[in-house]
């Protein structure tokens, strides 16, 4: 099993959710986060004062999928989240040792 974490633009959330649904991935965790990558933020002048805007609002998705589905999920995810501009975000993939469904103690991929 792999855990896929994606940091995406907030306005892309609906499209990404749709894309996941269309390939049969139903479960995901969505968190509203703030951060910066290479974009680093920028200076803003408002009412004559400069403000450093270094943390931008983003959305973090987390989903765990069977090993065999990773490629397909990443393709759909990055396809839906891409605008081609700076700030589109990143996807991270990592190994998951175990999954347990709390309700009935299902283990492994059946728990996903």
């Amino acid at each position: 099993m792999k855990k896929i974490e994606a940091i995406i633009q907030p306005f892309k959330l609906e499209e990404v959710k749709e894309a996941m649904k269309s390939i049969g991935v139903d479960g995901m965790t969505v968190t509203e986060v703030r951060g910066h990558g290479r974009q680093k933020g920028h200076k803003e002048v408002y009412r004559g004062r400069e403000y450093q805007v270094d943390l931008l609002p983003k959305v973090k998705l987390e989903l765990v999928v069977a090993d065999g589905r990773v490629g397909e999920v990443i393709k759909a995810l990055s396809g839906a989240a891409r605008t081609g501009k700076i700030g589109d975000g990143k996807i991270f993939v990592s190994d998951v040792m175990e999954a347990i469904r709390i309700r009935n103690d299902d283990r492994g991929e059946t728990a996903l």
């Binding site: 907030p10 306005f11 509203e32 803003e44 002048v45 004559g48 609002p57």
Partner: protein, 827 residues
């Protein structure tokens, strides 16, 4: 063996059979009092029987059983604990006696009654237990069950003296505990899924009213019997249907209970309305009693309250920090007395006396009838909604029913439940919390929120903003495709009835219709120019944007306590900035291109903003002035409206024109509040100024208005020099250092497509505008468009300038910046 088995199994069966009977009878009749009494009798019988069997032999004397708490009151709900106090002589039982007690308790438990017991001596019971105040309180509802009657009599004879000596301390403890409990529920009754026992307005508040009554003799002031009955019935149902001690009236149960004929409601919404109505009465009574207890015990508070008596006037008395009518019969004859009273409430945040509330409630039919007709009460409504205590006043008006009487449109959302996962409160409560969120914003110390507080200080039409909030969700109470449109329709009806002026009305309706736009934009690509254009088209003016940003801030904050996360706060600010930049950009670009032939010559080339900020009547007036100007080449029009003077100038454009007008006004000691300068395609300049007359010069010397007009004509046509006029003005005293606003000048080359944008934020002073605009003209800049705004002592001046028809070059911009900073300081 047979006998023992019978002994152990029969109590359980007995309880089960009796409980089944109580359940069936209640579900058929809805008689909660009967159900509670029957269950109490059942517990009494079971305990007496078990006592006889196990305790009586082991304790011929020295032990008495008492019912306390809800059981003591004979209010045993189907799954409530059975609270028993075991009164003993000396210490806790040991040896055989302890064994007998254990068997007694086990028998009751096995019978499936949930016994909750405690063992105490008489001495325990008449001592104050600061850490276990519950024991002292539960004994307020005690009654004797069985056992040593003499021992019980000893306690009973001592209790009254104990309570007499400790009543103040106990009452205070009770109030503190209640406040803590209310706080857990954000001190509101209006939860979509309420806990009908613990939440404000729930059964605990009823208990509190009973306890404070027993301790201090205070009475709730209104008959709560029907409210009590309704809550009792709901709790019986909750216990029976969930088969446990459950007090959370969730959506599923609301749906299910609505079909119970004995509740007399026709669906989940009316069921909840009836609940909230009961809860509101109970909650109010509890607060009133707590208030009287606390006032008694706090002399500092009492002194403050006496001090506030000075707020009294000819119509109202303020006594002990509560408002009373001087003549309580007057309200019936003069329904608008109510609005004047709420002006006082809004201005000083002083609550109503319970007697006043009662009087208002009594007169609601008369008030509804009066305000149901078109009445020109806008001034009064405006005066309430622009005060610092507006949120408090609106909440008080809502609580005594006046808000619904003045605005029947509001009545539709009173206690209205929205089934939405995110929402925590009913629509009316959500709305009031939203209005309060704005008030809290003014006091915030959080830097992320201070940006929004800054916007709040720049809003001119607070009445339109607050009323937009009042009405923004009223459409939810009606069947419609879009509640935004429906809410705006209802607000429009209300606005017509109270005679709301055109511009405020327009602002309020726009805010309501668009109240989801900004939260919608939070989910759009803010870097996409299309999003910016969409925002610009929807919002039209910077004034709408500011108010709508604040409305959105308040609306999200009032969804639930954590809805306005730092993330949303950031996103909302980004939306605001995106829209603000777009409105700045398009001001010079989006021009009026065509109109009716008569208007075309004048309107063509003016920014679209012109149409968005002026009423049709004002446009007509400008057209008439333009006709005059064609004959005289110059028109100066001064008129007074609502305490503010309005100056309109129409002339051919020339250098120093704007500076001259600003200077002439300053030379008369006038304080410029707002100013805008536009230019149409034919090169005619339309300058509008709003100014105040702080020294009442024009008011006291009417001929000065003519002199002002003449002076203006002379400086505009270049026949008089504004500098020499200004020389004679006395210098104003400099503001104290602490309140001084450091001048800032920002020059933005990208904000507009065709001009350089210069924004100056500075401490306002007489002549500032003249100095700034002169500096611009002296530098050879042509002022294309001006927006001037003054809030308190802060001037926010925006100029769109060009030089030789183009944006300023960087070198020029730099020297200009220095000159403008210098101009801010000089006087």
């Amino acid at each position: 063996m047979m006998i023992e088995e019978k002994l152990h199994s029969s109590p359980m069966e007995e309880v089960r059979a009796a409980s089944e009977e109580i359940r069936a009878r209640f579900l058929e009749t809805g008689d909660s009092a009967g159900a509670l009494a029957s269950r109490t009798s059942l517990a009494d019988a079971m305990i007496a029987q078990a006592h006889q069997e196990f305790l009586a032999p082991a304790f011929p004397d020295g032990l008495a059983l008492m019912a306390v708490g809800g059981y003591g009151r004979r209010e045993l709900f189907p799954h409530s604990d059975v609270d028993v106090l075991i009164l003993v002589e000396g210490g806790p039982p040991v040896g055989k006696a302890k064994e007998a007690l254990a068997r007694f308790l086990q028998t009751i438990w096995d019978s499936s009654l949930r016994l909750s017991h405690s063992v105490h001596t008489v001495r325990d019971c008449i001592e104050l237990h600061e850490q276990n105040i519950e024991l002292n309180v539960s004994l307020l509802d005690q009654r004797f069950l069985t056992g040593d009657a003499a021992l019980y009599a000893e306690l009973k004879s001592k209790l009254p003296r104990f309570y007499q000596s400790q009543k103040d301390s106990l009452a205070r403890h009770l109030c503190r505990l209640t406040q803590e409990r209310h706080h857990k529920f954000h001190a509101t009754i209006h939860h979509l899924e309420p806990n009908i026992k613990e939440a404000p307005g729930g059964l605990r508040d009823l208990h509190l009213i009973g306890w404070l009554g027993k301790l201090t003799g205070a009475q709730p002031g209104e008959d709560l019997a029907s409210a009590r009955e309704y809550l009792f019935a709901l709790r019986c149902l909750l216990h029976l249907q969930s088969n446990r001690d459950n007090n959370l009236l969730n959506f599923d149960f609301q749906e299910e209970f609505a079909s119970r004929a004995f509740l007399g409601v026709s669906g989940p919404a009316p069921l909840m309305r009836a609940y909230f109505r009961s809860a509101r009465r109970i909650h109010r009574s509890a607060l009133r009693l707590m208030d009287s207890v606390q006032a008694k015990s706090n002399s500092l508070l009492a002194n403050f309250r006496e001090w506030r008596s000075r707020l009294s006037n000819a119509e109202f008395t303020v006594s002990k920090d509560r408002v009373l009518f001087r003549n309580s019969q007057q309200l019936e004859k003069d329904p608008e007395l109510a609005l004047r009273m709420f002006h006082l409430v809004a201005r000083h945040s002083v609550p109503l006396h319970p007697e006043t509330e009662r009087k208002v409630q009594e007169n609601l039919p008369v008030l509804s009838k009066h305000y149901g007709q078109p009445r020109p009460v806008w001034e009064a409504v405006h005066d309430i909604t622009t005060q610092s205590g507006a949120a408090f006043a609106l909440r008080t008006m809502h609580e005594c029913g006046l808000l619904g009487a003045i605005f029947p449109e509001w009545a539709g959302v009173e206690c209205y439940v929205i089934r939405d996962f995110n929402h925590r409160y009913t629509v009316d409560e959500h709305t009031l919390i939203a209005i309060e969120a704005l008030d809290e914003l003014a006091r915030t110390t959080d830097p992320a929120r201070q940006r929004f507080a800054g916007l709040l200080s720049e809003v001119d039409d607070l009445a339109a903003l607050r009323l937009a909030l009042v009405f923004h969700d009223t459409g939810k109470g009606e069947e419609s495709e879009s509640h935004c449109i429906e809410s705006a329709r209802l607000a429009g009806i209300a606005a017509d009835r109270i005679g709301m002026p055109e511009l405020s009305r327009r602002m309020m309706l726009t805010l309501i219709e668009r109240h989801l736009d900004l939260s919608g934009a939070m989910n759009r690509d803010l870097q996409d120019p299309a999003t910016a254009r969409w925002l610009g088209e929807r919002l039209e003016t910077i004034e709408v944007l500011k108010s709508l940003t604040l409305l959105t801030y308040a609306d999200i904050s009032a969804v639930n306590p954590s809805a306005m996360s730092p993330w949303r706060l950031d996103q909302l600010w980004r939306v605001y900035r995106t829209a603000q930049k777009e409105l700045t950009r398009e001001l010079l670009t989006e021009k009026i291109v065509s109109s009716t032939p008569e208007r075309e010559a004048f309107l063509k080339g003016l920014p679209k903003r012109y149409l968005r900020i002026h009423t049709e009547a004002e446009i007509q007036q400008h057209l008439r002035l333009e006709e005059q100007r064609r004959e005289t080449s110059l028109v100066v029009d001064v008129r007074k409206h609502n305490g503010t003077y309005h100056l309109t100038v129409l002339a051919k454009d020339r250098l120093f024109l704007f500076a001259s007008v600003a200077g002439a006004l300053a030379s008369f000691g006038m304080n410029i509040l707002k100013a805008e300068a536009f230019c149409n395609q034919q090169g005619t300049v339309l300058d509008t100024f709003a100014f105040s007359d702080p020294q009442h010069t024009l008011e006291l010397n009417p001929q000065e208005i003519d002199r002002l007009r003449l002076t203006l004509e002379r400086v505009i046509s270049g026949r008089a020099d504004v500098k020499s006029l200004l020389k004679n003005r006395p210098r104003p005293s400099a503001p104290s250092k602490g309140s001084r606003i450091e001048p800032s000048v920002s020059i933005d080359d990208e904000a507009s497509d065709s001009a350089t944008l210069i924004e100056v934020v500075a401490q306002d002073r007489p002549g500032l505008l003249n100095d700034l605009s002169s500096a611009l003209s002296e530098a050879g800049c042509n002022i294309e468009l001006v927006l001037i705004d003054t809030e308190a002592h802060k001037a926010i001046d925006v100029f769109y300038v060009t030089a030789n028809g183009r944006k300023l070059d960087p070198a020029k911009a730099e020297t200009l910046e220095a000159r403008l900073v210098a101009a801010c300081a000089s006087s």
